[in-house]
C-alpha cells in the first residue's frame, strides 16, 4: 500500500479502517480510509504544506476542519471535472481521488511567484489604486494581464461540465440547518410533535461538534446518544434527514435554498444520477442550528503550516484519528481551547505548552498541566519560526514583558467562537454584540427563522440541547403540530470564559484574512487612509471576500479596525452578510436547464412531417418552425426559398401557421370588449367575417396585430402574432379582469387546439376543392375575401376556413383540430399534387409579406405608432380604446417621424441588408442626417432584385427619392430608392380574385 499514514493513531476515530482508499495529491500517491476528508487523509500522511496564498504566495497548510477553510484549497479531479478552490477540509475521500495544489509554479514546494513576498512592502492594501496609471496604454497591455495571471486561485476546467444537475422542491413544517446537539434536539422535538421536518447537514455524518468533542448526553456517551437520536428520527415517516446538504440561503415567504452534494463523494456520478441537486425548501419555520466557528488570533506568522484552529486539531485527532502534530502548543484566550490540550494528552501526544492570554487559569487546567508536564504561559504568541516545513519554534511574549520560546511542531489556536450568523442575517439583519462571549449573535432573523444553540451564542452542550429542543418544539407548535414532544435531552454546561484578544502586536506579517493575504497592518493602513467604515475596509483591503467569505477573518478585521479607530466593536459594526452560506456550483443553480434543455421547445402539429420532408428549422421564440424545404439539387437557401415563392405566386403552396396565438373570445360583450382593445371596430363585424386588427399599448405605441373573425354573435376567434401570443393573452385578461370587469366576456387560449395552415396561390381553390366537402361553396361569391366560417371536409371532419391572405395571393387559412395537423399536411400534399403544390417555410412567408408591404416584428418594434406603419386611418374616432389618448402626443404625431416605406437598391444586382442606415444622397453620414434604417429585406423573385422595408424620416413623402444605404459595419454604402411599400399587386386584385 502506498503511503504509510505515519500520523494515524492506532485506535479510535470515525473512520472505516477496513476500507483503505488510495488518492493522489500533487502526483504523489497516498492512502487514507473511508470516512476521511482529503484534509484528514493529508494530515494522517503528515502532509503539512497544502497551498499557496493569493497575493504573496506564502506557504499554507490546513487551518480548519470545515467549510470555513481559507487555506487548504485544491484543484479536485482532473480534465472536464476539475474543480478549482475545493476545500480539502470538506472533500470526502474516495478511491482514486486526485487533487493538486494551486496558485503555484512550477511546484508547491518551489513557487517562483513567492518572490512577491520581496515586494510585500509595496504590495500593501490598495497599492494598485496608486500606480500603474502611466502611460495609460500600458494598463491593458502590460500591467493588467500580469495582475490577472497572478491573481485567481485554481484553474477551472476549460471544457463543458460533463455532469448533470437538477433542482427540486421540498415542503415541510420545520427545516433545521445543522445536526449538532441543537439541531438534533430540535429535530427530535419537532418530529415527535408530528411536524414534517427536514434536517440538513452539510457534513456526511450527523452530529456536528459532537463528532470531535464528545460529551455525555442523557447519561450516554455523545456518539451513542447521536445514534439513538438518528434512529428515532429515521423511524419517523415525516422526518427527512439530508446529509451532504447545506442550507445556503433564505428567501421570501419561507423559501430556503439548499445544495445537496449527491455524488461528490464518488469519482463520477453513477449512471442516471446527478452530481448535485439544488433544493428549494418551503418551510413554515426554520431553526438555524448551524453552530459556531472558532476564530483565529492575529499574530506574526499565524499563517505558518502547522498553525491550526484548536477545535480543528481535536477534529483531526478524535474524529479522524489523525495527528496534525506530535508536539503541540496551544494558544488560547478562552476556556474551550483547553480541550485541545486534553485531547492531545488523551491521544498520547505531547503538549509543549499552553499559552493562555487570560490572567487566570482554572485549577483543573493547572493540574492537567502538571500531570501532562507542560508549562502554562500567560501571554501571547508573538511569532512563529517555520516556513513551508511547518512550525518549529514559537516565541511568546509573556504578560509583564518577558519573552519565552516554545519548541513545537504544531500550534493550536483558539480566539473564541463566532456564532454562524449568516442565515439569520441574510435579510440585511445586523447581529448584535455580546460582551460575555465576545461575539456577535443574531439579533432577530427573517420571518419564521430562529437560531438555537451555538449559532445563537449558547456554547454549552446542555444549553445547546435545551435551546434546540425548545426551538424545535416552538416551531412545530407554530406550524400547528401538537404531539407529545417527550423529554428534553440533558447535558452539563461547560464554563466558557474568554478574555478577548484579537491581535498580538509584533514584528512580521500577521494575517487577518489568510486567503487574501490581508494583514493587521493593512487594516491599520486602510484606517489611516480614511477607509474606516467596515464596508470600505472590506472593499479597500479585500478582507472577507475570499472563498471562505470571511468566516475566519471578518470579526478579527473589524475588531482591529475598532481598536485603531478608537471605537467599540459594536460601534464599528459588521459588513452585510450575503448568501450563499457556502459557495455553490453554478451548474447546480442551472439544473436541467442547459444545452438543448435551456428552454422548452414547442413543436407545431406538422413538425414531424416537416422534418421528414427535410425542412430546415428556425427558432422563433420557443417554437421550431420550418424555415424552408430544400430539394435535391438546390444549391443554397435562396434558391429553395425563391422556388417556394414562385410556386405559390404561380400555383399553390401551404405553410403551417399554427404558431400564431389563437384566443376564443366569448360572451355577450365580446364585441364591445374588442372595440376597447383594438383601435378599429369589431362590434360591427358581421358573423362569418374576419378583420385585420391593431392593438396599442396604453402609451399609444403599437402592441400587436392580427386577424380576428366573428364565428357567432357571441364568439370571436382572435389571432395574435407568434411572438406576442402569451403577452397578448395576459394583456387581454388584464383588460377583462381589471379594466373592464363590467363586460361579460370570457377568454380562452386555443393556440394548441388548432393546427392552422395558410394555403396560398392562384390554384388554392383548386386544391381546397379536393379537400373540402363538395357541398361547400368556395366561390368568390360563396366565400368572399375576409370570409370566415366552419366547413366540412371530405370524410366529415369539421374545419374552420378563413379567406385571409398575408402573401397577397388568393389564399385561405384552414384550421383543424391539432391531432389532425400532420394528416392535414399530408393530405394537402396529396390534394395539391396535380397543381404542383409546395410546402413553404417562414422565409418564403417573409418574402411574400415584404413584397406585399405587410408590417411584422421588425416594424412593430415597440417604438412605432399606427401612423408610422401607415395604418393611422384605422384608428377609430368614435370610441375609446387602449392607447388612444397617449397616441396623440405631439412627438408621436410629428411630421418628421420615421415611417414605413419601401426601399430598393438602384443597382438591381445589389444586395440590400437590414440594419443599413438611410442618409441623404451626397451627404456625409453623421448623427445629424441619420434618417432611418432598413428594417426587413428579401430577395424578391417577382421583381428579381433585393427589396426591403424601412423606417425613414418623412419616408412616404419622399417616394422616388434616391438616398444612401450606409452600412459601415459591413463596409457597404450604396444608393437606394424610396418607394411604395407595396411592391406586389398594389391594387390587391389577386387576393380578392
Amino acid at each position: 500500500m502506498a503511503g504509510d499514514q505515519t500520523n494515524r493513531l492506532n485506535n479510535g476515530g470515525l473512520i472505516d479502517r477496513s476500507t483503505a482508499l488510495n488518492f493522489r495529491f500533487d502526483g504523489k500517491t497516498f492512502s487514507g480510509f473511508k470516512g476521511d476528508t482529503l484534509a484528514s487523509a493529508l494530515v494522517a500522511n503528515g502532509v503539512k504544506l497544502v497551498g499557496r496564498s493569493f497575493k504573496y504566495h506564502r506557504p499554507r497548510g490546513i487551518l480548519t476542519a470545515g467549510s470555513e477553510e481559507p487555506n487548504a484549497l485544491v484543484e479536485l479531479r482532473s480534465g472536464a471535472r476539475r474543480e478549482a478552490n475545493t476545500k480539502a477540509t470538506t472533500a470526502e475521500l474516495y478511491e482514486g481521488l486526485e487533487a493538486a495544489s494551486q496558485n503555484r509554479w512550477p511546484s508547491l514546494n518551489f513557487d517562483v511567484m513567492s518572490v512577491n513576498q520581496l515586494f510585500a512592502p509595496i504590495f500593501v492594501a490598495g497599492f494598485y489604486y496608486k500606480t500603474f496609471m502611466w502611460p495609460a496604454k500600458f494598463w491593458e497591455a502590460i500591467y493588467e494581464p500580469a495582475i490577472r495571471r497572478a491573481a485567481g486561485l485554481g484553474r477551472a476546467a476549460q471544457v463543458p461540465d460533463p455532469d448533470h444537475y437538477e433542482k427540486a422542491w421540498a415542503h415541510c413544517d420545520v427545516v433545521i440547518a445543522g445536526s449538532g446537539p441543537a439541531g438534533l434536539a430540535a429535530a427530535l422535538a419537532a418530529g415527535r410533535s408530528g411536524a414534517r421536518v427536514i434536517l440538513c447537514e452539510e457534513d456526511f455524518v450527523l452530529g456536528g461538534r459532537l463528532l470531535a468533542d464528545g460529551g455525555t448526553i442523557d447519561g450516554l456517551p455523545a456518539a451513542e446518544w447521536v445514534a439513538r437520536a438518528v434512529a428515532e428520527l429515521t423511524a419517523m415517516p415525516d422526518v427527512r434527514i439530508m446529509t451532504r446538504t447545506t442550507l445556503f440561503g433564505v428567501y421570501d415567504g419561507g423559501t430556503y435554498g439548499a445544495i445537496e452534494r449527491v455524488n461528490d463523494h464518488l469519482p463520477t456520478p453513477p449512471e442516471h444520477q446527478v452530481r448535485q441537486r439544488l433544493w428549494r425548501i418551503v418551510a413554515r419555520r426554520c431553526v438555524v442550528a448551524a453552530g459556531s466557528i472558532e476564530r483565529p488570533i492575529v499574530f506574526a506568522g499565524n499563517d505558518t503550516p502547522g498553525v491550526m484552529m484548536a477545535s480543528a486539531m481535536r477534529s483531526y485527532i478524535n474524529r479522524y484519528a489523525a495527528t496534525p502534530s506530535r508536539r503541540i502548543a496551544l494558544f488560547t484566550n478562552n476556556e474551550d481551547g483547553w480541550r485541545t490540550a486534553e485531547t492531545a494528552i488523551a491521544a498520547g501526544l505531547q503538549v509543549a505548552a499552553v499559552i493562555d492570554a487570560r490572567p487566570d487559569v482554572s485549577p483543573a487546567h493547572r493540574s492537567l498541566a502538571s500531570k501532562g508536564g507542560f508549562p502554562v504561559l500567560h501571554g501571547a504568541v508573538a511569532g512563529v519560526d517555520g516556513g513551508k516545513g511547518g512550525v518549529r519554534k514559537i516565541s511568546v511574549s509573556l504578560t509583564g514583558g518577558a519573552r519565552a520560546e516554545v519548541e513545537a511542531d504544531g500550534l493550536a489556536v483558539s480566539g473564541g467562537w463566532n456564532p454562524a450568523v449568516g442565515l439569520t442575517s441574510y435579510h440585511r439583519g445586523r447581529p448584535k454584540w455580546r460582551d460575555d462571549i465576545a461575539a456577535f449573535v443574531p439579533d432577530g432573523a427573517p420571518p419564521g427563522m430562529v437560531a438555537a444553540g451555538a449559532a445563537n451564542g449558547a456554547f454549552g452542550l446542555g444549553a445547546g440541547l435545551r435551546e434546540g429542543f425548545e426551538a424545535g418544539a416552538a416551531a412545530a407548535r407554530d406550524a400547528g403540530r401538537s404531539g407529545n414532544i417527550g423529554s428534553m435531552p440533558v447535558a452539563d454546561d461547560e464554563a466558557f470564559s474568554i478574555t478577548p484578544l484579537w491581535h498580538v502586536a509584533g514584528k512580521g506579517k500577521a494575517f487577518v484574512d489568510q486567503q487574501h493575504d490581508v494583514t493587521a497592518s493593512d487594516v491599520e493602513l486602510a484606517q489611516r487612509e480614511g477607509f474606516q467604515s467596515v464596508e470600505h475596509l472590506k472593499r479597500y483591503t479585500t478582507l472577507g471576500m475570499a472563498t471562505d467569505q470571511g468566516k475566519t477573518s471578518n470579526v478579527a478585521g473589524l475588531a482591529i479596525m475598532a481598536a485603531v479607530s478608537g471605537k467599540s466593536i459594536p460601534e464599528t459594526g459588521t459588513t452585510i452578510y450575503r448568501p450563499p452560506y457556502v459557495p455553490v456550483a453554478i451548474g447546480a443553480f442551472a439544473g436541467h436547464h442547459r444545452d438543448e434543455n435551456f428552454h422548452a421547445t414547442r413543436l407545431t402539429p406538422s413538425h414531424h412531417w416537416a422534418a421528414e420532408q427535410g425542412a430546415i428549422f428556425v427558432d422563433t421564440g420557443l417554437w421550431k418552425r420550418a424555415q424552408w424545404y430544400p430539394r435535391a439539387g438546390e444549391k443554397d437557401w435562396l434558391e429553395s426559398v425563391t422556388r417556394e415563392v414562385k410556386t405559390v405566386r404561380s400555383g399553390v403552396g401551404f405553410c403551417d401557421v399554427s404558431t400564431l396565438g389563437k384566443i376564443d373570445v366569448h360572451g355577450p360583450d365580446a364585441g364591445a370588449f374588442l372595440d376597447r382593445v383594438y383601435i378599429n371596430a369589431f362590434s360591427s363585424l358581421a358573423v362569418g367575417k374576419a378583420r385585420y386588427g391593431l392593438m396599442l399599448r396604453e402609451d399609444g405605441i403599437v402592441y400587436d396585430d392580427g386577424t380576428t373573425s366573428r364565428l357567432a354573435e357571441d364568439h370571436y376567434f382572435l389571432t395574435t402574432t407568434t411572438a406576442k401570443a402569451g403577452l397578448v393573452m395576459q394583456h387581454l385578461e388584464f383588460c377583462r379582469q381589471v379594466l373592464f370587469p363590467e363586460l361579460d366576456v370570457q377568454l380562452t387560449s386555443v393556440s394548441d387546439q388548432w393546427a392552422q395552415f395558410s394555403i396560398a396561390g392562384p390554384k388554392t381553390r383548386d386544391l381546397l376543392k379536393e379537400i373540402v366537402d363538395p357541398a361547400e361553396d368556395l366561390s368568390n361569391e360563396g366565400f368572399p375575401f375576409m370570409g370566415a366560417r366552419e366547413v366540412k371536409l371530405r370524410g366529415g371532419l369539421k374545419a374552420r376556413l378563413f379567406r385571409i391572405s398575408f402573401s397577397g395571393e388568393m389564399a385561405f387559412e384552414i384550421s383543424v383540430p391539432a391531432r389532425y395537423g400532420e394528416a392535414m399536411a399530408r393530405n394537402l400534399m396529396i390534394a395539391g399534387k396535380p397543381f404542383g403544390v409546395t410546402p413553404y417555410g417562414t422565409e418564403a412567408l417573409g418574402v411574400m409579406r415584404i413584397e406585399k408591404g405587410h408590417v411584422a416584428g421588425p416594424e412593430l418594434n415597440g417604438t412605432t405608432t399606427a401612423g408610422d406603419l401607415g395604418l393611422g386611418k384605422m384608428m377609430s374616432t368614435k370610441k375609446d380604446f387602449i392607447g388612444r389618448v397617449m397616441a396623440g402626443r405631439e412627438a408621436l404625431v410629428a411630421p418628421n417621424r420615421q415611417v414605413v416605406v419601401g426601399i430598393k437598391p438602384t443597382d438591381k444586382a445589389r444586395r440590400l441588408r437590414s440594419g443599413a442606415h438611410i442618409i441623404p444622397k451626397d451627404e456625409t453620414p453623421g448623427p445629424g442626417n441619420d434618417q432611418g434604417y432598413v428594417t426587413s429585406v428579401c430577395f424578391s423573385p417577382v421583381l428579381d432584385q433585393w427589396i426591403g422595408l424601412g423606417l425613414v424620416e418623412r419616408g412616404r413623402e419622399r417616394i422616388g427619392e434616391v438616398v444612401r444605404a450606409h452600412d459601415p459595419l459591413r463596409g457597404e454604402d450604396y444608393d437606394v430608392e424610396l418607394c411604395n411599400s407595396v411592391f406586389y399587386d398594389p391594387d390587391g386584385g389577386r387576393q380578392r380574385g
Binding site: P447, E698, E733, F734, Q737, V738, M886
Partner: protein
C-alpha cells in the same frame, strides 16, 4: 416570495407575473391628456406597503391585487381583481 392566490392557495413566485402599482385608475374616456399621462407614467413608487397588480399566469390566470411591503417583501393581503371570479357577482 410566495403569494397566496385566493383561488389556488399559496404558490411560488415563478407562477406570477408583475405589472405594478394598482393605485392608478384608468381615467374616463374624456379625462384628457394630462390625466392619462399621470396614469401611464407617474408613480408614487412607495417604499413601504403598496397595492400591486400580479397575474397568476402560471396557474389559474386570475389577476390579483396584492398588498406587499416593498421594503421587506412581506405580503399582507391578496384579493382578486374585480373581474376575476365575476361569475359570482350578484350570485
Amino acid at each position: 416570495m410566495r403569494i397566496v392566490c385566493p383561488f389556488c392557495g399559496e404558490r411560488e413566485l415563478g407562477e406570477f407575473t408583475y405589472l405594478g402599482d394598482a393605485k392608478p385608475q384608468r381615467p374616463a374616456a374624456d379625462a384628457g391628456e394630462e390625466a392619462v399621462y399621470d396614469y401611464v407614467y407617474l408613480r408614487d413608487n412607495v417604499a413601504g406597503v403598496m397595492s400591486e397588480h400580479w397575474y397568476h399566469g402560471g396557474g389559474c390566470r386570475a389577476w390579483l391585487k396584492v398588498t406587499r411591503n416593498t421594503l421587506t417583501h412581506e405580503i399582507s393581503a391578496v384579493e382578486p381583481a374585480a373581474g376575476a371570479g365575476a361569475a359570482k357577482v350578484g350570485a
